[in-house]
């Protein structure tokens, strides 16, 4: 019995941690992209996630739209918002020291979070579906369908993102601008537009992640800060701007939290995640997958 439980519990925690990690990766991947390409730490990223969740929720409640479809609408909306923000606001200070953009996005996050508080109220929401809490059973290990879906979407989108960035002209423009903006502009790339595209893309990814978060759990505007912090940790773990790195970082954090919860206590989960962060930084300052910082900036 005891050994049996140990094995089952370990498997269960591992599966759960991996699924959770995949979703966290999707939350973080856009954040990492923006940081890597433009050297902007976007403190408003978490509020994009929550805004995405609200859009998904509104569509579900008022139009009966399944979140799997709603997430595309949310992504489109956030893309437009993100594009506009970068094009007409953040671009104004994008050459300033990093603290300036940090402050700007901090101001944006105050604006967004309190704005959502006023518009949607601070009530907790969740997007209702028939399938999200059903589980598949393998022996005694249960795999929740909603989380599995979210995980699948996260991995799929990350892979697709890498493909887009590596194989399309726009994607290559993003990489080139991230590597050397001056040279890219000489080649005829419109850096302002490319930056705005990148930011819009990042916001769209956050919106998709947000819709998934809303489907498998609860959210309200105050949850935004937590997602920003997680993105921070995961992006650094994976190496900035590295999309596969973000996936790996997310999975690692998911696993560490699940195992810490199982073997220590639920209260140690975050402590272990930050311990891993500090250790990785001390041993491999450029992240798990990255190279030295600037060389790794847009390593895709």
């Amino acid at each position: 019995m005891a050994r049996h439980w140990l094995v089952t519990a370990f498997l269960q925690a591992t599966v759960y941690g991996l699924l959770q990690g995949g979703l966290l990766a999707l939350v973080a991947v856009g954040f990492s992209l923006v940081w890597g390409v433009m050297n902007v730490v976007n403190l408003a990223h978490g509020s994009f996630v929550i805004l995405g969740a609200y859009i998904g929720w509104e569509l579900n409640v008022h139009a009966g739209l399944d979140p799997l479809l709603g997430m595309f609408v949310a992504a489109a909306a956030l893309f437009v918002i993100g594009y506009a923000l970068q094009r007409w606001l953040i671009n104004l200070v994008v050459n300033a020291p990093i603290f300036i953009t940090l402050l700007l996005t901090f101001g944006l996050s105050l604006l967004f979070v309190q704005g959502m508080n006023i518009v949607f109220s601070a009530n907790y929401r969740s997007i209702q579906t028939d399938y999200a809490s059903t589980s598949l059973t393998f022996g005694e290990v249960r795999v929740p369908l909603g989380r599995l879906l979210a995980f699948g979407i996260a991995v799929l989108i990350t892979v697709a993102l890498v493909a887009v960035v590596n194989r399309t002209r726009t994607g290559l423009a993003i990489i080139a601008t991230g590597m050397d903006r001056g040279a890219a502009r000489l080649m005829g790339i419109r850096a302002r537009h490319v930056y705005a595209l990148t930011f819009g893309l990042s916001a769209a990814l956050a919106a998709i992640a947000g819709t998934m978060v809303g489907t498998i759990g609860t959210f309200n505007p105050a949850a935004a800060g937590g997602f920003t912090l997680l993105s921070f940790v995961i992006a650094v773990l994976g190496g900035l701007g590295n999309m596969y790195g973000a996936l790996l970082g997310g999975l690692l954090i998911g696993l560490v939290e699940a195992w810490a919860g199982l073997y220590l206590s639920g209260t140690w989960m975050n402590a272990m995640a930050f311990l891993v962060l500090v250790v990785v930084l001390a041993v491999r300052p450029s992240g798990l997958v990255g190279r030295a910082y600037y060389a790794a900036r847009v390593e895709v």
Partner: protein, 345 residues
């Protein structure tokens, strides 16, 4: 990262010969200001003592961050860890060891400084963002650690400093007492920044900010300078945290290690003008006053408005108020629009 300070240093290089009294002017101003604040407390105004006390606290915090973040250019994103350590060290010592507040305050300050040196040695090897995140990780990790030692720290339920009855080791200072204590700490922080800004040590820190390799080549022991700056900044922040804990009576890990407090320090320093003595002072007074005002008058939308104001300030004054005024005086060009153009893509 260095645009901001290059200009500041360029101006400083052709150093004009000054009247001897000129050197003492800032000190004189500081002393007069302190005296004025003393006067302000004892007889001046109605009903805002606590507000001013909080402003003084943030002056000290902003100035402390300025030493590592502004002068040295190391973006410490986990500065609040010193605040939390100072606060919890004081509370734990007063509760479990029954020491007086004054002893606990001193030990907490020293403890925060030592902690700064210990984590500074490995972490200050990291550059730029990585330093920022590593310190953030330390602060968040420390919060979790404190939360998970309930026997010692009370955990998530908080810890109460004894202020009444037999367990009270030091009589509660009262609002007047905390006003004076925070005034003293704020004065100490400003004086420290003034001292640093005109000393060889300060020039070493600025050199590190500009180009660390070049500074090392010039014979500056960069590791020692950085660790010293970090530790000093930790000391000041720790003192504030310790006083804050006694003032609050009850403290909770979520607040004592709240990343928002770090962000506030950074915002105040950057808006005022980082790497200057006056900037953080103005930034802290201005921002704290503003947020109090907004909270009083726009109870439901104050963070919204504050966010908008920060955005506008950042767009128009990216180098901070003090640096802007200085540059504008230098060049004779006060146009804010030119200012916006400067970092635009």
């Amino acid at each position: 990262m260095s645009d901001l300070n290059e200009t500041a240093v360029e101006q400083r290089t052709p150093r004009p010969v000054e009247a001897p009294w000129h050197r003492f002017l800032p000190w004189g101003a500081l002393i007069v200001l302190m005296l004025a604040m003393l006067g302000l407390q004892s007889q001046l105004y109605v009903g805002q003592e606590r507000t001013v006390t909080t402003i003084l606290m943030f002056v000290a915090l902003a100035q402390a961050w300025n030493i590592i973040g502004g002068f040295t250019g190391y973006a410490c994103f986990g500065q609040v860890v010193f605040f939390g350590i100072g606060g919890y060290a004081t509370a734990v010592m007063m509760v479990h060891l029954h020491v007086s507040f004054w002893l606990a305050l001193s030990l907490s300050g020293v403890g925060a400084a030592v902690f700064g040196a210990v984590i500074g040695l490995p972490l200050l090897r990291l550059k730029g963002h990585y330093f920022a995140i590593a310190t953030l990780g330390v602060a968040e990790g420390m919060r979790e650690l404190v939360t998970n030692l309930p026997r010692l720290t009370g955990g998530g339920a908080g810890i109460t400093v004894p202020t009444v009855g037999e367990d009270a080791t030091t009589a509660y200072l009262g609002n007047d007492g905390f006003y004076l204590l925070f005034l003293a700490i704020a004065g100490l922080a400003v004086a420290t920044a003034l001292l640093i800004s005109r000393s060889r040590f300060g020039f070493a820190l600025r050199a590190i900010h500009q180009d660390e390799d070049a500074a090392a080549a010039m014979g500056i022991n960069t590791t020692r300078a950085k660790v010293l700056a970090f530790s000093l900044s930790g000391l000041l922040t720790g003192l504030v945290g310790a006083t804050y804990a006694f003032q609050q009576v009850v403290i909770f890990p979520d607040r004592l290690f709240d990343v928002e407090i770090t962000v506030l320090m950074v915002v105040m320093v950057v808006i005022g003008g980082s790497g200057t003595v006056l900037g953080p002072l103005l930034g802290a007074v201005g921002l704290q006053f503003l947020s109090e005002y907004l909270r009083n008058h726009y109870t439901n939308a104050h963070t919204f408005i504050l966010g908008a104001i920060i955005i506008v300030a950042v767009i128009f004054l990216p180098q901070g108020l003090v640096n802007y005024v200085r540059e504008a005086r230098h060049s004779g060009n006060f146009s804010l629009l030119a200012n916006v153009r400067r970092f635009r893509l």
